[in-house]
């Protein structure tokens, strides 16, 4: 009882106590979360760069765009120098095969495009598209309770090649 009263009456170093509580429960977690965030955006940047490499490969080699061996070779080249190991899964999250070709079809003068996995009819105008998905995982330097560690990341996109 005496100790509690003495503590309640004491005003010395109250700012230090406030700061210790604030830094422990607010500032330090924010800082650690910031370090995790930087790790994640670095990995995501490499992932997006790899996806862009696949886009360029598809632009320049439309007939080989769906060749997953060639696409995998590009990813292997990137992995040779990258901190993060990127994978080109055989099946994308959507259930379709990676590097799958799809078609956008419309019948002029209508401009309404229908997307499908089979080629358009002869009377239709056809756009050819290819879809890629790349994945990686990043080990968080300071694992947070709400996040899985290692954290899986993915990037996917569709690009018109013809």
């Amino acid at each position: 009882m005496l100790i509690r009263r003495r503590l309640a009456a004491a005003r010395r170093a109250s700012a230090s106590v406030d700061f210790a509580l604030t830094s422990t429960f607010v500032l330090l977690p924010m800082l650690l979360g910031g370090a995790d965030y930087i790790s994640v955006i670095s990995a995501q940047a490499q992932l997006n760069t790899a996806l862009q490499s696949l886009y360029y490969f598809a632009y320049t080699n439309p007939s080989a765009a769906s060749n997953s061996t060639d696409a995998g070779y590009i990813i292997a080249l990137i992995n040779g120098a990258s901190i993060y190991k990127i994978t080109l899964p055989a099946t994308m999250s959507s259930g379709k095969a990676n590097a799958s070709i799809s078609y956008g079809c419309f019948t002029p003068p209508s401009t309404t495009i229908t997307y499908q996995s089979t080629a358009c009819t002869a009377s239709q105008t056809q756009q050819t598209l290819v879809t890629y998905q790349v994945k990686t995982t990043v080990s968080l330097p300071f694992p947070l309770p709400a996040l899985s560690n290692p954290l899986p990341l993915s990037a996917s996109g569709t690009v018109q090649i013809q």
Partner: protein
Amino acid sequence: MPRMRLRPKARLPWPAAAFARHCWAGAAVEFALVGMALAMFMLAIVNLGMLGFTVGALVHGVQSAARAAAVQTANTYATTEAITCPSKSAIIGYFNEYADPPLPAATGTTSNPAVISTWSDNGGDAVTSEPPGVYLTLTATYLWVPIGFAAFGTGINLSITTVATVTGSAQAASTC
């Protein structure tokens, strides 16, 4: 009712007892202690922002430099029908153009940042397991050192790699 004695007199040696009696500028002393730690936190948050800025510039520099080199090669091939790849120093020049600021200028494969470029050629798709044509693998690495914390560590290694393929080079017979 006898008065309760809340604070028994502590027996402190003379200098400590004299110091403990003085409450002048207590807040200033506390701020001096807390302020240093608070300044470190603020500097760390500024550094996180700088690191994000640097990563963005590195990515932009690598992607743009690789694309510029590939497009230049494609243009040369379209006009002269010969594959003439930009030199390593020209690619470094592209990188410096796109990544500055905040990155300092790269000068080679050992500078900071370092730019490593490798041209590959698979004209005619001779090796079926590799993409056809000419392509550039470009890596830029940068040892980022946080402002104000240089004494606490060696920094963070950043690295971005890309591959840029050259338009129209799939059947090109000549090499870089």
